[in-house]
Amino acid sequence: MRTRTDRRKWVDALNGYLFISPWLIIFIIFSLISLGYAVYLSFTEYNLLRPPRWWGLEGYQRVLEDELFIAKALPNTFKYVLIVVPIQTFLSLVLAFAMDQNLRFQRFFRTIFYLPSVTSSVVISLIFIWLFAPQGIFNQITGLTVNWLDDPRTAFYVIMGMNIFTTSGTLMLIFLAGLQDIPLAVYEAAEIDGANGLQKFFYITVPMLRPVIFFVVTVGVIGCFQVFDQIFVMTNGGPLDSTTTITYLIYKWAFRDTRIQMGQASALAVILTLIILAVTLLQRRVIEGSGSGAER
């Protein structure tokens, strides 16, 4: 009997590893080894031509002294996150709340709202370049004559607006699912106590949705810190570096510049990872700490 359970255990162990092996191999190569190597590279000078040369913290120092990083990429990235995340979160929450009122055409609206997010980032960027061209449809409709994407004062805001536009639909669906999980009885109890619509929204909906809000903000923050496709396609970081973000700078240093600097780019990637980690933890504190009603 004992030998049989032993054999069973052994077979389970073998099968377990066989079942996870395809994922495990890819995970070890492209996540574990990659992460380790990225950290190693960040302490080296590496231009692809000669083997990486260890230079300790020199790469980090160069990043922190780099004019493009300090004056443009870093502030731009934070500006991007601080503008896009709150607006897209609030907007999608309000849209979801409106959807949850069981108005007519609900299914129709849901489909339409999701459309911008099924379109690829490149395609939507190409479309926006055309819409916001000097003679483009946006200027035609509004009667303005702004050269949106060639003007350092406006280019970044067009990209922000476009990304709010494309992600709000998905986030709205996430919120809608969360809203539909809130038991109707809670609202009815509040109505009996005489709560009006706004009160219900701020005292019931928002606190009950806290876990979902946390999720949406986290996903938004992580995504926004890494914004790349749209910038690559629409502005290439310009005009006058006004749309250069950290991820774009990593790409530029590692793959685009004539003098490739993979070590320094890795140092910046590590810095970005730490920033994202810190912001995520901080924001978890803020959202969970701001009330006692955290559910899950």
Binding site: G16, F19, W23, Y37, A38, L41, F97, L126, I127, I137
Partner: protein, 308 residues
């Protein structure tokens, strides 16, 4: 809502009804406005993809006047690379989808059902890796797919072990890292954990082993979840930009998004053709979206509520 306008009993009551209706109209107007906004870019793209190249900024903006099919003819007939890009996109996305769904289902099943050593260790690593931003592994992953982490390979005595796959400018270089990932495994694990195991146990009793049970019983009954993951994967792979941009170098190998971006650089004046191409890139996803709509909604609802 039991509130009706037909029997207002008191004035207060009537006022609530009035505000209730007003609020509903406001919400409805808001939804309608956002719907119009969501549709506008694709609508204009569609309209102008049927207008001549010279009219790319010319009104009317609401209807394709004058109408022409030239842009689509250019794409499908004159411009040889375009059908190739479509094919490359289809090939890469389909292969990634098949592998990712299968591998994630396998790993998810193992994490949910089979006891094996270090299971929780690997699963915790998986959870941590989901919080890791993708950029940090970008450069090493590129080196692994391409020239290798160590130039000339790892020297062990007389043995030379290559540290890279040498798959730059090869569709398999795009496919390989996408074949399995933490999110998919996590999603499938959660699913199998919440799934009754009686059916499998019956099958195991009847003497079919783990693998037989997995392929004959488990995969068929988890169809819905597999389709959901497949749709998410296909959409992601079809629209993916950064990774194929790094891996694929020659125009013959490009996927549709990379190709469209490249085309814009080469033929800036033919923007109507780009618009037609954009429609081409969007159409398959739109069709899939409409056919499998409830799966998309499911998947999104699941991502939101499971992880909070």
């Amino acid at each position: 809502m039991a509130v009706t306008t037909s029997s207002p009993q008191t004035q207060v009551y009537a006022r609530t009804v009035f505000f209730d209706r007003l609020r509903k109209y406001l919400f409805f107007a808001m939804l309608a406005f956002w719907a119009a906004l969501s549709l506008a870019p694709l609508y204009f793209t569609l309209v102008f993809s049927f207008k001549p190249v010279a009219d790319v900024y010319t009104p009317p903006i609401w209807a394709p006047i004058p109408f022409t099919l030239d842009n689509y003819i250019t794409i499908l007939g004159t411009f040889q690379l375009f059908p190739r890009w479509v094919w490359n996109s289809v090939f890469i996305s389909v292969i990634i989808t098949i592998f990712r769904v299968l591998f994630c289902a396998m790993a998810g099943y193992a994490f949910a059902r089979i006891e094996f050593p270090l299971k929780s260790f690997w699963f915790n690593l998986l959870l941590i890796s989901m919080m890791m931003p993708g950029v940090v592994t970008l450069i090493p992953s590129f080196l692994i797919i391409g020239p290798g982490l160590i130039r000339g390979g790892l020297q062990l005595g007389d043995l030379r072990i290559p540290t890279g796959f040498g798959l730059i400018d090869n569709p398999w270089g795009v496919i390989l890292p996408g074949m399995a990932d933490a999110f998919g495994v996590f999603m499938m694990t959660q699913f199998y954990k919440s799934f009754p195991k009686e059916l499998e146990e019956a099958a195991m009793m009847d003497g079919s082993g783990r693998w037989g049970t997995f392929f004959r019983i488990v995969l068929p009954i988890s169809q819905t979840q597999l389709i959901t993951l497949a749709l998410l994967t296909f959409q992601g792979a079809w629209n993916n930009f950064m990774w194929p941009l790094l891996v694929l170098r020659s125009p013959e190998q490009f996927t549709l998004p990379i190709g469209l971006q490249w085309f814009r650089g080469e033929y800036y004046t033919l923007y109507s053709v780009i618009l037609a191409g954009s429609i081409f890139n969007t159409l398959p996803i739109l069709i899939i979206f409409f056919v499998f709509q409830q799966y998309f909604v499911r998947s999104i609802a699941a991502t939101g509520s499971k992880e909070g």
